[in-house]
Amino acid sequence: MLQTLIPLFVDALANAALIFFVAVGLTLVFSVLRILNVAHGSLYSIGAYVAASVGLWIVAAGLPAWLTFPALVLSAAFTALLFGPVIERTLIRWTYGKSEAVQVLVTFGLFLILEDLQRMVFGVQSIYADTPMALLGISEIGGIVYLNYQLALIGLAVAVLIGLRLFIRRSRTGKLLAAVVADREVSQAMGIDTNKMFMIAFTLGVLLAALGGAMATPTTGVAPGLGADTMVLAFAVAAIGGLGQVEGAAVASVIVAVAKVLAIYYAPALDAVAPYLVMLAVLLVRPYGLFGAGATRRI
């Protein structure tokens, strides 16, 4: 019994790590900016494309293979700095104070534009850069061979979760962000530069998306359509956890991953449906997600 449970457990955590990266940035951006960024999935896939391209280039150029590890992180950072501030300063900033419909549409327009820009820049063929995966080797757990890279990702996801918490609780910028989350008007009145906070939060969201994409590349292929697929998964996880709840996203990733892994092991026909069935079940009971709450209006 234990023999079969261990792989389930490892697979669930490995999946949860990848899923967490997909959703955490989306939910973080929502918590600060109160905007659901529909283009989040595209930023994830751009991160993946940049990382895969750089990885392939490192190998092709004959540079030391270990360079592919820092390249993953640097690709994500590069993507975040390239897109985060520009998008926030122009499109997103324009939508502050506008209705949700406008915000969703503007980011949907951005999604469409980014999807085609990716095709133009990175081509339409699927690419694969697995050097980091190959370098780390394998381990056997419960009779099944896993990639050490998969296990490392679990650790990295936990580290990012803890890091985010520490950043928000301990650092000056983090505390200011938390203040903006708690009450935007009051923090503005207290002299916090909310515009700057929005830009920081959005860029951080892009960084997390791009990092998720980059970290996924060594074990997955990158192809057009990744952004759209990623987006719905991110929606689902963020909705289950409660929009704007970083810890909620972590818990939701584990729940979705467990559902997906159970489906693949015991009911393969349901694997693609599993995340959405879980989401529907959770939302029927808790419409604002596990950790979320709806707003009430004062008169």
Binding site: F30, L36, V38, L91, W94, K98, S99, E100, A101, V102, V104, L105, V106, F108, G109, L110, F111, L112, I113, E115, D116, L117, R119, M120, A228, M231, V232, F235, A236, A239, L243, A269, L270, A272, V273, Y276, L277, M279, L280, L283, L284, P287, Y288, G294, R297, I299
Partner: protein
């Protein structure tokens, strides 16, 4: 004010004549009108300030209902397929709406998306019922018992769609002017006051939601028989996004807006496929942003200005 009905009538006449000048446009326009119905449904909800990121689901429900009746049950007459598809999608709208119209803003958008993704996943997974990702085929339906050649049927379908566009458009116009329709915009501007008038925002919205699902169902049924095939991707979230986009591009203030948006997009698409297929999404995305930034009333707003309409009272802004 007189000019507008004339322009609308002229537009409809132009649509009716277009296939004579360019026969290949008939199919494109049929699909455009079909999607226009779904976009009109989305526009209804936008008037109440609700953005549905899942309405393609009802388009798909209408399409699948038609395909199911035609292929599995074997009743394949368009005049039965259409009401059946509309009834099924309206029922689906009623059931889903009863749960969803309690929510506002981004939660409404997300929950619609959630339900539509379940529908999408089920349609692609229930291989034995829905044909999985292969979808279902629809043979050329009969029309009031008459078997027609595909070409004749397509032509009939196109003109039936135009008649529906006029009739349904007029009905929806009446609905929007009625107290029930006006209450829709009132939900958006002041839900508290509406409740204090003794009006249930929930039932007001549920009525709109059901109507919007039925409209999407009309579109789904037309598209299903026009294309001859229904597929899970009809319900994919990007399709829902495109419906919202179509509605906003055309303008949500009038009935004609979503149809203008839909026809405009399909025509541009037809041209772009030949020259800029790679950049199609890019073009649409930029057009969307341009409309939101510079033409908040959509393309139809341009037509209205041309017609000298200046009175925009009682309209919902996005």
């Amino acid at each position: 004010m007189r000019a507008l009905p004339l322009i609308l009538a002229a537009g409809l006449a132009l649509l009716a004549l277009a296939p004579l000048a360019a026969p290949y446009l008939q199919f494109v326009l049929t699909v455009a009108v079909a999607k226009g119905f779904a976009a009109l449904g989305v526009a209804l909800l936008l008037r109440a300030g609700l953005i549905s990121l899942g309405h393609a689901m009802f388009f798909a429900v209408g399409a699948y209902a038609a395909a199911f009746l035609a292929q599995a049950v074997g009743i394949n007459d368009f005049l039965l397929l259409l009401p059946f598809a509309v009834a099924v999608s309206a029922l689906a709208g009623l059931l889903v709406g009863a749960f969803l119209v309690r929510y506002r803003a981004i939660f409404f958008a997300m929950l619609n998306l959630a339900v539509s993704m379940v529908a999408y996943a089920l349609a692609s997974k229930l291989y034995s019922i829905t044909g999985g990702t292969d979808g279902l085929r629809i043979d050329v339906p009969t029309l009031m018992g008459m078997s027609l050649e595909k070409a004749q049927f397509d032509q009939a379908l196109y003109y039936i769609s135009l008649v529906l566009l006029a009739v349904v458009g007029w009905l929806v116009h009446r609905y929007l002017k009625s107290p029930l329709g006006q209450a829709l915009a009132a939900v958006h501007t002041n839900e508290v006051r509406l409740e204090y008038l003794g009006v249930s925002a929930w039932s007001t919205l549920l009525a709109a939601y059901t109507i919007s699902a039925a409209l999407a169902g009309i579109g789904g049924a037309i598209a299903a028989v026009a294309i001859g095939h229904v597929l899970p991707e009809y319900a994919f979230w990007t399709e829902s996004g495109h419906l919202v986009l179509t509605a906003v591009l055309g303008g949500i203030a009038g009935i004609a807006g979503p149809f203008v948006g839909s026809i405009f997009l399909e025509l541009i698409h037809t041209v772009a496929v030949g020259y800029a297929a790679e950049a199609w999404n890019l073009i649409v995305g930029v057009a969307l942003l341009a409309v939101i930034f510079f033409l908040p009333r959509g393309l139809f707003g341009l037509i209205e200005s041309a017609a000298g309409v200046k009175d925009h009272r009682g309209e919902t802004e996005l």
